[in-house]
């Protein structure tokens, strides 16, 4: 009896929080006071583990949060050590530990340079670049003899403090750096900055369309990932009292850092530290017992392979998932709940479109885009009147999605102009366009799968400022607005569900709410009615009408003709990359060019009329 209640008490979230805090506190006390240990080799292990933990904690920001795997994190320990060593040998009167901040700043600046590279390359290409970067830094350390003394390395002065202090200054300096690094990581995770980084990890292209200025975010993330690592590197170099290119820029160091991050759990606050305090003792054991070298390679290589296969998420996330599973056993999830669109009449029946202002919100002039020899968009021109629901229709492959990509900035046109409210925007980045009031959804929904529904809706950014980076990720007024939008699309019951767990149709609704968070003037919808059930299609139509009545302009691509005819006016018809016809639904349905290129000769026989209720036809998603 008592065991059962004891176990269930252990599963209580508050109890777990207490236990976690207790464990962290105990671990922190043990680590801080470790130099009291009589064993010099144990002291050495802990000092090295601290260096590794700072490296791992830094890597966590770019690998765990931002999603860029780097095999060159060890280089920043080396760069920090070299900066410290070079300054210490040039200025023998200054205590070498004081150079740590400069070492950190230099490392951060070089890391930002590496971050610039991510502007063009992602995924596998980036990993390759990091390997090349590490070897290039080593090459510079070897060849730049006047400064680095080449392969011979640099010898630092021995510590000038009294003997009884022993390793305490090294140790405490590293403890402080680890604490600072963890504080920064914790702070990043709970700000807009961290949310943006996670959005980049989940889907960088999409992040741009909701206003996340990815290059700046990544640049700052790379700087942050190396700042304290460079500082720790300079302390480490002083501790060893010797730095050389082979020891400092070994790829094994980077491998140990990656191992620590993955083993402990990437994206968690304490995981990388836990990983480092597991890996470093193993490393020392391998060195002491097998004389390092080959055995160490086999052990860590094997460990890496096993980890990737057996425990890819790492210790902390796996443990958390297990606890969560035990706790939620027997409770009913939301996944089976029906979404009933008729719960609440959404749009008042008399939702009338706003009176036309006569102004043009968006204008596309002579747009061209080709992929190799394929002219996907070929001299395309059309306008979207302010306050309208404009449709862009046309056969598959006629260039509709490419036009969307050109308007939202996912691609840049080869030629032509795009004007929003008279302002040229065709060379602007996706996020600048989002900030100017263009929001878009995707044909196949692209939510941030690992975030909750609420986080997804809060993620969009209406503008960019440095101050904003430090704001809370889910702050009061924004959360309230997001909940309002979720209520509006009828998805508030799912606010805490993981976005990846939703059905396709539900994701479409959440993506609409997400775009609305931008307060866009113009919303681009790519097949809003594609692949979802008839009731949901009706709901989507109601939502669009309701938003339009409040003044939002829409441009949508859709194949469901009854849906388009019932909702949109005017219609632009695209074929072979150019607009071949435009006008009201009535005109379009009778236009021989359109019938020939898209609708087909027998379309008129079953043409829907605007006056009757919209017959909803289930169609295959294109």
């Amino acid at each position: 009896m008592t065991t059962i209640s004891g176990a269930s008490r252990l599963l209580d979230p508050r109890m777990q929080k207490l236990i976690t805090r207790g464990l962290v506190l105990v671990a922190a006390v043990v680590i801080v006071l470790f130099p009291l240990s009589p064993s010099a080799s144990a002291q050495n292990t802990v000092i090295l583990a601290l260096v590794l933990a700072i490296g791992a904690s830094g890597l966590n920001i770019i690998t765990g949060y931002t999603g860029y795997l780097s095999l060159s994190q060890g280089a920043f320990i080396g760069i920090g050590a070299y900066v410290g060593a070079i300054l210490a040998t040039r200025f023998p009167d200054v205590q070498p530990l004081l150079w740590a901040p400069i070492a950190g700043v230099v490392a951060a600046l070089i890391a930002m340079l590496l971050g610039l590279v991510t502007y063009r390359s992602r995924g596998p290409a980036f990993v390759i670049i990091t390997v090349a970067f590490l070897f290039l830094v080593q090459f510079v350390a070897i060849e730049w003899v006047p400064v680095t003394n080449g392969t011979a390395g640099l010898t630092l002065p021995l510590p000038d403090w009294p003997d009884p202090w022993g390793n305490w200054p090294f140790h405490l300096a590293l403890v402080v750096l680890l604490a600072l690094s963890l504080t920064m990581t914790w702070w990043i995770r709970r700000t807009k900055f961290g949310m943006g980084l996670i959005a980049i990890r989940e889907d960088e292209g999409k992040a741009g369309t909701i206003g996340v200025n990815a290059p700046v975010y990544k640049l700052l993330a790379f700087g942050a990932s190396a700042l304290f690592v460079g500082m720790a590197g300079s302390v480490y170099g002083y501790y060893l009292s010797f730095v050389d290119p082979i020891g400092m820029f070994s790829i094994i160091t980077s491998a140990l850092i990656v191992l620590s991050v993955i083993l402990g759990g990437r994206g968690t606050l304490f995981g990388p530290v836990l990983g480092a305090f597991i890996i470093q003792p193993v490393n020392n054991f391998a060195n002491d017992t097998f004389g390092g070298g080959n055995a160490r390679l086999v052990i860590f290589g094997g460990l890496l392979v096993l980890l990737v296969i057996l425990l890819p998420k790492g210790i902390l996330p796996t443990a958390a998932a297990l606890l969560e599973k035990t706790r939620s056993k027997g409770t009913v999830g939301l996944s089976g709940a029906r979404l009933n669109p008729l719960d609440r009449p959404l749009a008042p029946a008399e939702a009338r479109p706003p009176a036309p202002t006569g102004r043009t919100l968006l204008e596309v002039r002579g747009l061209h885009k080709s992929f190799g020899g394929n002219h996907a968009v070929n001299d395309c021109s059309f306008t979207v009147p302010e306050g309208s629901i404009t449709a862009l229709i046309g056969p598959n492959g006629s260039g509709k999605t490419t036009v969307f990509n050109l308007i939202s900035g996912t691609m840049t046109p080869d030629r032509g102009e795009i004007l929003l409210n008279g302002e040229r925007i065709e060379r602007l980045s996706p996020w600048s366009r989002a900030h100017r009031g263009i929001g878009r959804t995707f044909q196949i929904t692209r939510l941030f799968r690992e975030m909750t529904v609420l986080e997804n809706v809060v993620a969009p950014l209406r503008d960019f400022s440095v101050r904003q980076l430090g704001l809370g990720a889910v702050s009061g007024s924004e959360a309230a607005r997001a909940e309002e939008l979720l209520e509006f699309v009828g998805m508030s019951a799912y606010r805490d569900a993981r976005a990846g767990a939703l059905s396709y149709g539900q994701q479409k609704l959440v993506e609409l709410a997400q775009v609305l968070m931008l307060d866009p003037k113009l919303i681009l919808l790519d097949e809003p009615a594609g692949g979802i059930n008839p009731t949901l299609i009706e709901r989507m139509g109601d939502l669009i009408r309701a938003l339009n009545a409040q003044g939002t302009t829409f441009l949508l691509v859709e194949h469901n003709m009854p849906f388009v005819v019932g909702l949109c006016d005017p219609i632009r018809v695209l074929a072979r990359g150019a607009v071949i016809a435009q006008g009201s639904p009535e005109q379009i349905q009778k236009d021989p060019l359109v019938l020939d290129a898209y609708l087909g000769d027998d379309y008129l026989l079953e043409a829907p009329s605007r006056s009757v209720n919209i017959p909803v036809v289930e169609r295959n998603p294109a």
Binding site: G205, I262, G293, L297, G301, L304, V305, I309, I444
Partner: protein, 293 residues
């Protein structure tokens, strides 16, 4: 002028060896989207196998190629079954880490078996060369170039004129589609990995007659091979060949005109510059990366 032509001759010959070794790397990426960071280590392993056959059985490296290729094929298949199979479909960074782990294990294991000292296979043709007026052509390199042409030609025929080759190409273009029309993608992947590693059998065998090697040199080789496939376009076989020739000539030119330390840096600079300016490489095509994910 003579020195320019000489540089070109040597560069193209070295490039032929690089092409032979890079063809497997680009094939594996093309079919499985796996960047095999263990490729350099496999090459060194093949070199050590050749070395053992030569020292213990007196086998000429050229004659040992079929044996080494067969052994490497088996090792490739085994590594696929033991490791790669489990990480296919995982995030690309996970597969990179797995193959990096394999490289470390191989490096350590080779150190245990053959030691960490510089090794070379010395044959009658190692230092011989043909002279053509003021120019010279090292014999070992000439033989290597011929073998490279043979193996790459064979690979080309296999890919384009056999059912297996069609299955491999189908799986590389559209995995789901290949499955639907009855291609066992898992077997094709295993076969591709094994073939990719087997081509290193020939590459490693010839490497052992030209360059000194030790377990740790695999980093230098993987850097060079990555530079080649990145330059040519990841996944493109003609691209890899072109990239290999460019890098070969570039390294020779750097040695001649800049100094002996520079060839080391050439691959790294090439990787960084190419991936920043033209990520798809010379012959690669950019994948459609947009709303239709």
């Amino acid at each position: 002028m003579v020195s320019l032509v000489q540089t070109l001759i040597l560069g193209l010959q070295v490039g032929a060896l690089y092409a032979l070794m890079a063809s497997g790397l680009t094939l594996i990426f093309g079919v499985m989207r796996v960047i095999n960071l263990a490729h350099g280590a496999f090459a060194i392993l093949a070199a050590f196998l050749t070395f053992t056959l030569w020292r213990n059985l007196g086998m000429d490296p050229i004659l040992s190629i079929p044996v080494v290729m067969a052994v490497m094929f088996a090792i490739g298949w085994l590594v696929y079954v033991l490791v790669i199979r489990h990480v296919r479909g995982a995030h690309v960074s996970m597969t990179v880490l797995a193959t990096f782990g394999i490289a470390l294990v191989l490096e350590g294991a080779m150190g245990f078996i053959w030691g960490n000292t510089s090794t070379a296979v010395r044959t009658s043709y190692t230092d011989a060369s043909l002279s053509l007026g003021p120019l010279y052509v090292p014999q070992a390199m000439l033989i290597t170039a011929a073998i490279a042409a043979l193996v790459i030609g064979g690979l080309y025929l296999l890919l384009n004129y056999t059912w297996t080759g069609r299955a491999i190409r189908a799986a590389s273009t559209n995995e789901g589609g290949a499955l639907l029309v009855g291609v066992s993608v898992a077997t094709v992947a295993a076969l591709t990995f094994a073939i990719g590693v087997a081509t290193l059998g020939a590459g490693g065998a010839m490497l052992s007659t030209i360059y000194p090697f030790l377990p740790g040199t695999h980093y230098q080789w993987i850097a060079r091979l990555l530079a080649i496939v990145v330059l040519g376009g990841l996944g493109s076989l003609p691209g890899a060949i072109l990239g290999a020739l460019v890098i070969g000539v570039g390294e020779m030119a750097a040695t001649n005109y800049l100094g002996a330390a520079w060839p080391v840096a050439v691959p790294f600079l090439v990787i960084i510059v190419v991936l920043i300016t033209r990520p798809q490489g010379i012959l690669g095509t950019r994948l459609r990366e947009d709303a239709v994910a």
